[in-house]
Every structure is written in C-alpha cells, then in structure tokens.
C-alpha cells in the first residue's frame, strides 16, 4: 500500500508526525494533535498558475462546484451531514493550489472523523459538477438573468472584490509585477470567463489535476497514525490518471525600472502599497531572511515603519502601516503598505519608500534581528495550538517541495541565519528598480 513512510518531529508536538507517499503518488500526513478536534485537509497543486486567458478563474470556480454533489451524495448532503456534527467546512484557492478542509469534533470512538473523511474523499474524487448547479452560460453585459446559480455566486464574489480598496490595490500591484508569467492573472478570474466556461472544461481540469500524485491529504488530531493512513488509502480510491510533473512556465524578466499606478476610488482615506517580487518558495534560506526583514520593517508596533512613520513622525499622514512576505512556489511577493490621510497620498508614498530604502542602507541591527527571530519562532508555537494551524503549515511545505522539509528545516535554518544574510537578501530584492508602487486616493470612477 505505501512506501517510504517516515516519522518526523514537528516543533512543539510531543509525538512525531507520519508522512507516507502511497504507491499512486498520493502524499498523506498524519499529525498527532491532542484534543477533541480533528482537521482534515486536502491540498491540490492546482491554482491560477495553470490557467490561461480563456480559463482564468476556473481553479477557483471548480473549488465552488466541488461542493455540488457526487453520485453517492447529492448536492448539499456533504454540508448538511457534517455541519450537523458541528463541522466547519471551507476551501480556498491561490496562485499555486486549491485546498479543501473540514474541522470537526472527533466524535464518539472517532465516528464523526470517519464519516467526514469518507465524504471528504468522495467529494474530491467524484464530483458531478451538475449543469443545473453551474447554471446556463450568459452574457454579463447583457440583460439581467432570471435563473441564477453558482456562476452568479462567483460573479458576486468578483464584485465584492471590486468594492474593496485593498483588493483593488493588490490587483494593481500584481498587474505591475507580472506581464508574462501566469501569476499575472487574478485567482478570482473574470466575469466573462465565469459566465461562459463550460462544464466540459471544468471536468477536464479536474481529471487532469485532481490526480493522486498532485494531491496531499493531511489529518491532524488525536488519532492512531497507522489507522488514519489506512483510512485515507481506503477512501481515496483514485483512478489510473496521473498529473505528472507540472509544466514549466514562461519566466518573468527581471524588472529594470520602477513601475507605478495611481488609482482613485470611492474612499475616505489614502492607500499606499510598495511591492517587490520575491524569491521562489523552495529557497528557504532567502525566504527566512526576508521573513526576518519584513518583521523588522513592518510587523508589530515596534517595527521601523510603525515607530518612525506613525509614532515618532511629528506630522504623520499615516494611520496604519505594515509589511509582509507572501510566499508562492515560483516567486514570492514582498509588500510594505500604509493607510494615510487622503490629501497626503504622495507624501506618504515618499515616506514609505524612504523607509524601504533605509532598510537597504541601514540593515537590521542585532537587537532588531534578535527580536525578529523570537517572533518568527513563536509563530510555530501558536500554530501548534490548533489542528488547522498545523495542517496549513504542512500543506504549504508539501506544495513547495513534496515533503515536510520547508516546515522542519525552518527553525534550524532560522537559528543559523545571520544579520549579514538578512542584509544581503534585502539588498538583492528591495532595489528601487524592482519597485511596484500603487496608490489610491479619493476620486471618480476609473
């Protein structure tokens, strides 16, 4: 049934996790988390990176439609049965992956867990994607449609994003950064594609990518690991199809000069976002160096951005500031941001950029570096407190490299990290020519 089963210690857990690669390529991880809560989690290495202009948004649309029934369980039954046991059910889609999860009380003798796993596997392997649930294709610029189904739900989600100033700014950053690589497309897609994509296209996408060698199932809870492994193998009865290696994607050329976009919107405050393309997720040493750099720059109220631009600036235009690294398999993203007075957007952008430049000119001090290291370490303790936190970290590691090394190597690598390495990563990735700057100020429709 399985080859290469390994026991691996995870931070802040007393018993080791078990990871197995089944013969069909399906990766299964069982995390021994004490308590009554069980979390089931399947990640598929299929996100918007696999789409083109004619299919933009279908990874996410498919995620919605996966809840619409199987031959064994009609639409609604999965939700009804599991939510009646108290389950929280959800799914999410990113550039690199789609994840499906159920958090549920274990139940007496594991009864809830077992039923949840059976339904979770059935939903992922045997979706019907019924035409009546998808709804008929329509012209989004045409007259109102009477019969609305899931296409319209996703289009409402698109509209919700258009009314959100942060979402609009982040979409603009992404547009500035990527012109060639498929990361240039939004995960949510376009109304035009969602209104017209066919069931056959969606079914074909499922057949191709929802294959065992492209999926990992993670179970966190107080369960016997061997039993849980056997449960997964029994319920995930895959067919013969395999996804094989992911394709290679067109490289995005190195950015040679700063790019800027000034947006206006129906807002009462100003928004400033400075973005830089980051590092592939498997380059763990640089990922961690940049994590530390972003903590120093903008995480917490003692960060440089908060102290220098909000607390200590005599006439600050800022109300809030921050910085973060978002990791994606092919290339991450570094963001510094601020919310500011609506009449001071340009000044705010200059102030924000000055602090980013100073991180290059004045790398983190030893005290800043130690503080960042402590905060990054503590994240692992916080994640170990809840089953879903553990599963998310494991899923992320498996999507990056097929194993748990991005998880288990994080803290040892962080321990070896030096301030000089942080400074080097900052110099490399936060250069002014690599900047994508987006601002939003009050103004008319665009």
């Amino acid at each position: 049934m399985k080859e290469g089963t390994q026991q691996i210690s995870l931070p802040y857990l007393t018993a080791p996790a078990t990871i197995a690669r089944l013969d069909n390529g399906h990766t299964v991880v069982v995390i021994p988390k004490p308590g009554e809560v069980v979390h089931l989690h399947t990640v598929v290495r299929a996100g918007s990176i696999l789409e083109d202009d004619h299919t933009t948004g279908i990874s996410h649309f498919l995620e919605h439609l996966m809840f619409k029934g199987t031959p064994a369980h009609p639409a609604g039954e999965f939700d009804r049965v599991l939510e009646g046991m108290g389950a929280r059910i959800n799914a999410s889609t990113s550039k690199d992956w789609t994840q499906y999860y159920v958090t549920i009380p274990k139940g007496q003798d594991g009864a809830f867990y077992r039923l949840a796993l059976e339904l979770h596997a059935d939903m992922l392997l045997n979706p019907l994607l019924p035409e009546e649930e998808i709804g008929p294709p329509f012209d989004p610029s045409g007259p109102p449609v009477g019969q609305k189904r899931e296409r319209h739900v996703v289009i409402e989600e698109i509209k919700m994003g258009k009314d959100n100033p942060w979402r609009r700014c982040l979409e603009a950053i992404n547009r500035l950064m990527y012109h060639h690589h498929p990361y240039k497309r939004e995960v949510i897609g376009t109304e035009q594609v969602i209104a017209s994509v066919t069931r056959e296209t969606l079914m074909g996408y499922h057949r191709k990518w929802y294959a065992p060698d492209n999926m990992a199932t993670i179970i966190a809870g107080d369960l016997d690991p061997q039993m849980a492994l056997a449960d997964v193998a029994r319920h995930f009865t895959f067919g013969p199809n395999r996804a094989g290696e992911l394709p290679t994607f067109p490289a995005e050329p190195e950015q040679t000069e700063a790019r800027r976009e000034a947006l206006t919107g129906d807002v009462q405050t100003g928004y400033v976002l400075a973005g830089f393309r980051g590092v592939p997720a498997m380059r763990l040493d640089e990922v961690i160096a940049l994590d530390a750099a972003m903590v120093v720059l903008g995480e917490g109220k003692s960060s440089r951005l908060y102290q220098r631009l909000v607390e200590q600036h005599p006439d600050t235009p800022f109300f809030d500031v921050g910085a973060a690294q978002w990791e994606y398999r092919e290339e991450g993203m570094l963001i510094a941001y601020g919310v500011c007075r609506p009449d001071a957007v340009q000044t705010s952008a200059d102030l924000l950029l000055e602090q980013v430049s100073r991180l290059v000119a004045e790398p983190p001090t030893d005290a800043e570096f130690e503080k960042a290291r402590t905060r990054l370490e503590a994240r692992f303790a916080a994640e170990a407190e809840w089953a879903m936190g553990l599963a998310l970290r494991v899923a992320d590691s498996v999507v990056r490299g097929g194993d748990l090394s991005a998880y288990t190597e994080y803290l040892p690598t962080l321990q070896r990290l030096t301030p000089a390495e942080v400074a080097a990563a900052v110099r490399r990735y936060l250069q002014p020519n690599r900047l994508a700057l987006v601002t939003m100020a009050p103004g008319g429709a665009q």
Partner: protein, 415 residues
C-alpha cells in the same frame, strides 16, 4: 475542563484552568462595564487603546518593544459590556508579560491622547471605506439610536473633538475596581505558584466601586428603512434587524438555534441554500444574533448586485415568514443543535479561546461554565419554541439599512 478559583487580598477573583503540556499560556483581565457606560461615543475604545500608549515608567515605544521582543500577543478589547486586556505568551515569558500588564492596568497616563485620537479617526475612515462596514455602521446606529449599543464609528468620529485625555482617564479610573474585574489564566501553570505572583502585581488594584451607573435599555426604533448613497458600488449592502432579548433571557437558547438554522450554521443553513445556492444572489448571506445585557439584535445581511435589492428583501421576508408559518422539521432543529454542540468543541480548542470564554462569561455574571450550561438549554429546545420566538421577535417589520449607488436605491424605490 477544570477550574480553580480564588481571590487576591483586594478581592480580585482569579480563575486558573490548567492545560499541561501546552507551549503558550493565555491570560485575560476583564473589567465589567464597557462602552455601555460611556457618556460619549469613543471613550471606552480610546481608553482601551491608550492602555498600550504609555505608563509612568514606560513609553509607548518601550511597551511596543517589550511586546514584540518577547513575542507576546497582546490585545485590548472594548466590548459593549466589558473592557479586556488579553495576552498569550510562551510559558517562559509569563512573568515579564504579567509585569507589563500590571503596569498598563495601573499606571497608564493616557497622555498620548491627541495622536491616538487622530489614528483612531483614520482607522475608522479606512474601515468605512469597506462598503459592508459602512452599511453595518448605518444599521447599528439606526437600530440603537440614542443608546451606547449604537455608538458606531461614524458617531465616534463626531464625538472625538469633544473628548480629551482627562475625560478618558476619568472614565477608566472609575472602571478599575478589583471586585468588578477578573483574572483568568489557561495554560501549563500551577495555581499555588501563580497566585503569589498575581498578588504581588495586582493585589494593589483598588477595591472601591466607583463605576458609572448603567443607563436604561435601548428603546426600540420603529421599523424604518435607512439608506446611504455611495458614488461607486458594484454591490448593494443590505442589513435587516429586529430587537431580541439579552443574554440572561430564557429565549436566548431558542433564538440561537433559530439563528443557526436560518443563516449562521454554515453552508447548509436556509439563507445560504435558498438565496445563494438556488438563486445566486450573493457570495455572502447570513444571519446573526448578538445578545447584550439588556437587549439583543437578530440581524440578516446580504451583499448583492445593485439590481437584486428588492429580490433580496423579498427573499429575506420569505425565509423569515417560513419560520413561523411552516412547521420546522424536527430533523432541522436536531441539525442546528448538533451544529452548536460541535461548534462548542471547535471554539474551545486553544488556551486563548478557552480563556476568553471563561473571562467574558465570568465578568458578565453568567458563570465560568456558562457555555456548557447554555448547551444544556439548547438541547432542551423544542420545535414549538422556535416558532414561538420567531413569531414573538421576527414577525414585525424590521429595521432596514441599505448602502448602494443612488441609481440602485432609486431603482429599488428606496431613494
């Protein structure tokens, strides 16, 4: 769950719930009397924020540095009925974290008022840039007009010029009373070792009760439709609501079950299935039930395309009418009960979740084991109870709040 309860020499109640083998410890200090007792909008919220902005011996920067350097998660919560400081830290950092909180609670200067008030104003404006928040603000200040429950961001913005550090400090100092607060600890700690450490830091909090009197309950607003036009909006934001009983009322259990069944029970609840799955009207549609000390709010929310406003209102009406016009199948009630049972387990997974639950219910006078006793009440709910509370609380016309473009409001006859 197990608790050990004791009190410091000044009468401050201490509750410890041991969680052996957990890496982080959670501590809550809850003080009775939140925004409910403020004379003007914004006082309680600013007091909570200013607790982190300087003491007699620590600057705001020193506080921020200590929090970050020790990786302490620390937040201050300004609720309608209580004020709370909550921290979670690695076990090794508990003593310095308690030192810090002792200083914040007892020695804050509130001197940073002007900067903090300006920041608060900006944060509220930014919050109101989100259309849903703008609609929620309109809804709550319409629903609870003239009452602290309706002190939304918009009213805080209007009130800020009239506030100052002295007024905020005076309000806070009247709240801080050892017998009107608690300290709840959940983590890998032993009570007998912990209590002397708490006594040394918090035993000096005064026990004299000088709290402001709690005013009367809200007077129900007559059913009305409040609208606000937005220059740009791809969706309309719609809230509807009815007055409901507060947290001590026996009808809280049937109304909670009704809320779960109607629109708070996830993907399988009625609003989600009928308005989202079958009619494609929304990505987000839900119901909510908030219970305060002497009143509550049962609400419905949808974000939908501008052309759908009347259809959404009709959909809400249809689903609410069904609650008392049609028999509720017993299986649907069992489903709601099962959901709430499971939700109880899921919402008590971490030390900080448990700590918050105990601290809030204790300070509100409901008891440490309120959540589990409330489940007993849920188990006893019958189908007839659901219909009775639906008829009693939801049969009248609701208060409605809509934020949309002028054209959308006009097209829906709401302009």
């Amino acid at each position: 769950m197990s608790f050990e309860t004791t009190a410091l020499s000044n009468g401050l109640p201490v509750v410890v719930s041991p969680a052996p083998g957990t890496p982080r410890v959670a501590v809550c200090f809850a003080i009775r009397g939140g925004s409910r007792t403020q004379e003007r909008p914004g006082v309680a919220g600013l007091a909570a924020r200013l607790l982190l902005k300087g003491t007699r011996t620590r600057t705001a920067e020193a506080i921020a540095d200590e929090i970050d350097r020790r990786a302490i998660d620390l937040d201050q919560i300004s609720g309608a009925e209580h004020l709370m400081i909550r921290l979670t830290c690695l076990n090794s950092q508990l003593d310095p974290a308690l030192d810090l909180v002792a200083d914040l609670l007892q020695n804050s200067t509130f001197a940073d008022f002007p900067k903090e008030a300006a920041r608060l104003a900006g944060e509220i404006q930014s919050h109101l840039d989100q259309p849903r928040e703008r609609a929620r603000d309109l809804f709550l200040r319409t629903m609870f007009a003239g009452h602290p429950y309706g002190h939304t961001g918009t009213l805080v913005l209007q009130s800020l010029p009239e506030l100052d550090a002295d007024r905020v400090r005076a309000w806070y100092e009247r709240q801080l009373c050892a017998t009107r607060m608690n300290c709840v600890v959940v983590g890998d700690v032993a009570t007998e070792e912990l209590v002397p450490r708490l006594e040394a830091r918090f035993g000096g909090i005064p026990a004299m009760d000088r709290a402001l009197p709690v005013g009367p309950p809200p007077t129900p607003t007559a059913p009305t439709v409040a609208t606000e036009a937005k220059a740009e909006a791809n969706q309309a934001q719609l809230y509807q609501g009815w007055y409901a009983p507060g947290f001590g009322d026996a009808d809280r259990a049937p109304l909670s079950a009704l809320n779960t069944l109607l629109g708070a029970g996830g993907l399988s609840c009625r609003l989600f299935v009928e308005l989202r799955d079958k009619q494609g009207l929304a990505y987000t549609v839900r119901s909510g039930y908030s219970a305060f000390s002497d009143a509550g709010l049962f609400s419905l929310y949808i974000g939908t395309s501008p052309g759908n406003i009347q259809r959404a209102i009709a959909g809400f009406r249809e689903q609410v009418d069904r609650l008392y016009n049609e028999a509720i199948p017993p299986g649907e009630l069992d489903h709601a009960k099962g959901h709430l049972e499971g939700e109880y387990v899921l919402s008590h997974e971490t030390n900080v979740q448990r700590c918050t639950d105990y601290a809030v219910h204790h300070i509100l006078g409901l008891g440490l084991d309120y959540s589990s006793r409330f489940l007993e009440q849920i188990r006893a709910v019958q189908v007839e109870d659901l219909q009775r509370v639906a008829r009693q609380y939801l049969a009248s016309a609701p208060v409605t709040a809509v934020v949309a473009t002028q054209e959308a409001l006009a097209a829906a006859d709401l302009a």
